[in-house]
Amino acid sequence: MIRLPLVLSFSAFLFATGVYGVLARRNAILVLMSIELMLGAVSVNLVAFSQALGQITGQVFALFVIAVAAAEAGIGLAIVILIYRNRETINVDEVNLLKW
């Protein structure tokens, strides 16, 4: 039986890594991957609490998160491909039309 605080610490570290990746990376693929890391951290959290509280709900939720994450990754990669086709770059700094 793995102790809960340990698991939560791991999940927090994973989430922080994801946040750093989202904020710091310039490559859109890496940004997407970092988002996947954050989602993974959340799933770990859910499973850990499910285990600790003896309720199955958290695990069910984790499965939903994984499914949604797959869909999100699909859409996100499709967007990245379209951006690349249009602008021949996937540097998020240069994709800044969403203003004014």
Partner: protein, 658 residues
């Protein structure tokens, strides 16, 4: 709808009496139709007026039938026009025997004139407009006749004045004609001002409650108004009658009004409008009778002076229409004299109005026919016309004899009834009227002799007028021959049962009066024939020295008005008023304008600087802050995410209070 319906007798009014107002409406409708559609109608629009007035004549005869069958009663019917406080003004009709007779006179003469004008005005440049004015005038006159209250009457009265002005000045290209129109309008207006104040006085007497003629009559007869007020009101009202009916001293406009087309003279200045003054006095007769006797004496004096003076002036005229104009003034005074006798003479006065309308319209239309043929108004350029113009000659002769009072023509019966009334206790008036009758016979004989006998002295070859002109002449001649018998005492004088004051009038035949007047008239006719059998140069009437000068110069009345009234007013008063207007009134107005402009400029500055400043300031502030906030939205998604996470951390710290 029906506010009041009073029947003075048991007999129910027939349809024509109940709907007499339609007769008033018809000419107004035809005036509007002629105005808007006339020029596009075949015959240039005369057909509307003829049809409307013809229908009016039929309806008027229908209304008269009521009084023929059932005698004189009063039918009133009205709707509320509007109400101001206690004062309520009606629009209504007052039909009694007098009204019905007047309606027949007005529509009959108007129909004759409408038909006659088709020939007389043929080719005139304002032909359609002429018919508009004729129809409008007829409607206004009928409104005066039928009105049941004084304000409604005044409306028709003033429209008549306007139409008279327009029609006298019909050929305004000649300055003389437009001057005559202005003179007629202003002179009658001088009479209208007292009339208006007379109306105010009577309405004041009712306590500002009503202007209804019957109500005022009842009030005055019942002694509900002070003697002084009633006398004042009666005299003021008589002022209006003096102006409209061309009585001394306001008669000066009527001879000049002959500048208008002759059919107009026949309709307006002989048969109808000028009779409106007499009608007004008759309509308000209760007021006159119950006023101080002094009022009727005034009427009597004015009538006597006018009858005699106008008849003498008619002696020396060379213009055939002016002879008839002075004759009209004189005969109107005859009617006034009848009314001035009080209840005894009112029927005689109106009977004379009735017969005079026919034969005077006939004379004017006959004169028009002559003028149409010889293209001149001057009798010195006529003569011998009885051969080329037989119809005109015979009808004109009938009219002249009727006017002169030769039995058994219309004028004899009415004049005789008047003289019989005056002979009963009014010796001075009686003498004046008898002399006037002789003068009338003389000047009409002179006119007939100069126009139709002797040799032709004019230019060209005169020929008889078209049927549209001779037809009305024949119709009116028939009326002049026959209508007199309506008042013949030997035949029961049915006229006295239709038109009377308070109780049916029995006409009486006084043999010595009839013999005296007829004898004098015959003498005058014989004298006229003897004097004018051959043309004499100069005219005998002009060989009487100072008397002739006095008559030719119209008793110097026009000169007195010119020197004593018009010139001082025009040259001095008008100049003073002009100066006051320019310097003082305009000064005030201009000062007001300057002040207003300055105020407007101040308001402009305030608006530009303060109001617009506030509005623009608000807009500028919004724009400036918006420009600042713009920089936050960079479009860089990662920066948004960074802010988002920062916010989450801040919120987490706040809510967990770590």
């Amino acid at each position: 709808m029906i506010a009041a319906e009073t029947a003075g007798a048991l007999a129910a009014p027939n349809w024509f009496v109940q709907n007499a107002w339609v007769v008033v409406l018809l000419p107004f409708v035809s005036a509007a139709l002629t105005l808007f559609l006339g020029k596009r109608t075949p015959g240039k629009g005369s057909v509307y007026g003829i049809l409307a007035v013809g229908a009016g004549l039929v309806m008027s005869l229908g209304a008269l039938l009521q009084f023929v069958q059932h005698g004189g009663a009063t039918y009133e019917r009205s709707v509320d026009w509007f109400r101001v406080g206690d004062f309520h003004l009606e629009a209504g009709q007052l039909v009694d025997g007098l009204t019905a007779v007047m309606m027949v006179v007005v529509t009959a003469v108007s129909l004759c004139v409408h038909v006659y004008s088709v020939g007389y005005m043929h080719g005139d440049r304002r032909y359609t407009w002429f018919y508009v004015a004729l129809s409008l005038f007829t409607g206004a006159m009928l409104n005066v006749v039928l009105a049941n209250n004084l304000f409604q009457l005044l409306v028709g009265w003033e429209i008549m004045g306007f139409c008279s002005y327009v029609l006298i000045g019909h050929w305004w290209e000649e300055h003389e004609n437009s001057s005559a129109a202005i003179k007629a309008f202003i002179t009658t207006r001088i009479g209208d001002v007292p009339f208006l104040f007379g109306i105010f006085a009577l309405v004041f007497a009712t306590g500002f409650a009503s202007s209804n003629i019957l109500e005022i009559g009842e009030l005055v007869a019942g002694g509900g108004a002070s003697k002084a007020l009633v006398a004042t009101a009666a005299l003021l009202t008589f002022g209006g009658a003096i102006g409209k009916s061309a009585q001394f001293p306001l008669h000066v406009w009527l001879p000049d009004a002959m500048a208008g087309p002759t059919p107009v003279s026949a309709l307006i200045h002989a048969a109808t409008m000028v009779a409106a003054g007499v009608y007004l006095v008759g309509r308000m007769f209760t007021v006159f009778v119950h006023a101080d006797p002094f009022v009727l004496q005034t009427v009597s004096i004015v009538a006597g002076i006018t009858a005699f003076g106008a008849a003498t002036m008619a002696l020396v005229q060379d213009d055939i229409k002016r002879v008839l104009a002075y004759s009209t003034i004189s005969q109107l005074a005859y009617m006034m004299a009848g009314l001035s006798l009080g209840p005894a003479g009112v029927t005689a006065g109106f009977f004379h109005l009735f017969t005079h309308a026919f034969f005077k319209a006939l004379l004017f239309l006959g004169a028009g026919s002559v003028i149409h043929a010889v293209h001149s108004n001057d009798m010195s350029e006529m003569g011998g016309l009885r051969r080329p113009m037989p119809v005109t000659f015979w009808t004109f002769l009938i009219g002249s004899l009727a006017l002169a009072g030769i039995p058994p023509l219309a004028g004899f019966w009415s004049k005789d009834e008047l003289l019989a009334g005056a002979g009963d206790g009014h010796p001075v008036l009686f003498a004046t009227l008898v002399v006037t009758a002789a003068l009338t016979a003389f000047y009409m004989t002179r006119a007939v002799m100069l126009t139709f006998f002797g040799d032709y002295r004019g230019h060209g070859h005169p020929h008889e007028s078209p049927v549209s002109m001779t037809g009305p002449l024949v119709a009116l001649a028939g009326a002049s021959l026959s209508v007199g018998f309506l008042g013949a005492p030997q035949l029961g004088a049915p006229f006295g049962r239709w038109v009377f004051f308070e109780h049916p009038h029995e006409a009486e035949f006084v043999p010595w009066v009839a013999a005296l007047s007829t004898g004098l008239v015959l003498l005058a006719v014989l004298a006229g024939v003897a004097l004018y059998r051959r043309v004499r140069e100069p005219d005998p009437v002009l060989r009487m020295g100072a008397v002739s000068t006095l008559l030719v110069r119209k008793y110097f009345l026009d000169d007195i008005y010119w020197r004593g009234l018009i010139r001082p007013i025009r040259d001095q008063l008008a100049a003073a008023v002009y100066w006051t207007n320019q310097r003082i009134l305009d000064g005030v107005v201009n000062a007001a304008a300057v002040v207003t402009r300055a105020a407007a400029r101040a308001v402009h500055v305030f608006d530009q600087r303060v109001v617009d400043g506030a509005v623009n300031g608000a807009a500028n502030t919004a724009g400036f802050t918006g420009g600042l906030l713009r920089y936050i939205q960079s479009g860089n998604v990662q920066r948004y995410a960074a802010v988002l996470f920062t916010g989450v951390i801040v919120l987490a710290v706040i809510f967990t209070r770590i």
